[in-house]
Symmetry: C2
Subunit: 162 residues, 2 copies
DNA sequence: AATATGAGTTTAATTATTGAACCCACTATG
DNA sequence: CATAGTGGGTTCAATAATTAAACTCATATT
């Protein structure tokens, strides 16, 4: 299976990955969410080849994650500005950061702080259930459309709790 | 910059991507969260080469996302079972699905339903602020540790050095 | 025996990515 | 004026990653 076939996949996770399931695309998005808009700024932060930056930015524009906003005409130049669709990817990136901070050994610097503009406080992202508004703990989700029981491996040794 | 250097990066998003920033790793994780535990089952769902499945599974075991649980000894065989660390990646995958369902054109089948075991209802994942418990809307986050203002497209080069 | 299963490994061919240099249209400096 | 610098790329040869298909190995089933 090739990259571009993911976009045709029936699974929404696969289709999301056709957009951000590449390390460079995801890192470009991270930087864009922090305010980067220029080619050279992306390149400087990413540390990958210029060709890669150009290619991924072009793909992300095609996918409607970025739009081009001209900031000068004569040598035509533009900013890469996130669209609504692109900004909506923010929660995925926030959950990645959150997972890292919780589960991976920390590197040197203190984690990047985030402020919620609505309440003014520094915060952590928390994923809650749309119905009961309680945090959704790992392992407390099931998929009624899949095989009768999701936790069962033919020869079951022991279910783990969680 | 190479793949393996991401793990050393100072940014938590980059470090998370060193684990799941690859389409196959992310799809393996998706399937694991839905209950898949066997090599051939991952391979059948992914549609990539067996070599790739073997490699990614081995990496994910190294990174502590999966652990091996033997289910027979003589030809030694095992299930790939998510660890706590691995299960904690669930919210990232849920937010990916959520984004797809909201922002990408739908394919044929109805989206996979999720049930929250704590309240028993079908739900959507919602990302809220840990402080005020309100949903964090796109664009309502700022980063006080970055350059004074994160949104400037027309104001040019200010020294910043993150 | 012969076939099947589960979990990989090997190999050659194909793709993707890199680093470095190059290009273009301007702007600023001497 | 001549030269260098900037922003945003493209091109190209070399290197790395990925693929499909075949192969291995131990055991189970027919």
């Amino acid at each position: 299976m090739r990259w571009d076939q993911l976009a045709e996949d029936d699974c929404p996770v696969a289709r999301a990955l056709s957009v951000i399931g590449d390390r460079w695309a995801a890192l470009i998005l991270r930087d864009a969410l922090r305010g980067v808009t220029r080619f050279d700024a992306f390149h400087a932060r990413l540390g990958c080849s210029r060709a890669m930056v150009a290619k991924r930015l072009a793909e992300l524009v095609d996918q409607g994650v970025f739009e081009l906003r001209a900031y000068q005409d004569h040598p035509p130049r533009h900013d890469y500005v996130l669209t609504d669709r692109g900004r909506a990817l923010g929660p995925i990136v926030m959950m990645m950061a959150q997972w890292s901070e919780t589960w991976l050994p920390q590197r040197r610097s203190s984690p990047l702080r985030r402020r919620h503009k609505d309440c003014g406080q520094l915060f952590q992202p928390v994923l809650v259930c749309s119905e009961c508004r309680e945090p959704v703990e790992p392992g407390r989700v099931e998929y009624p459309d899949l095989a009768p029981s999701r936790r069962r491996a033919t020869t079951d040794r022991q279910g783990q709790s969680a």
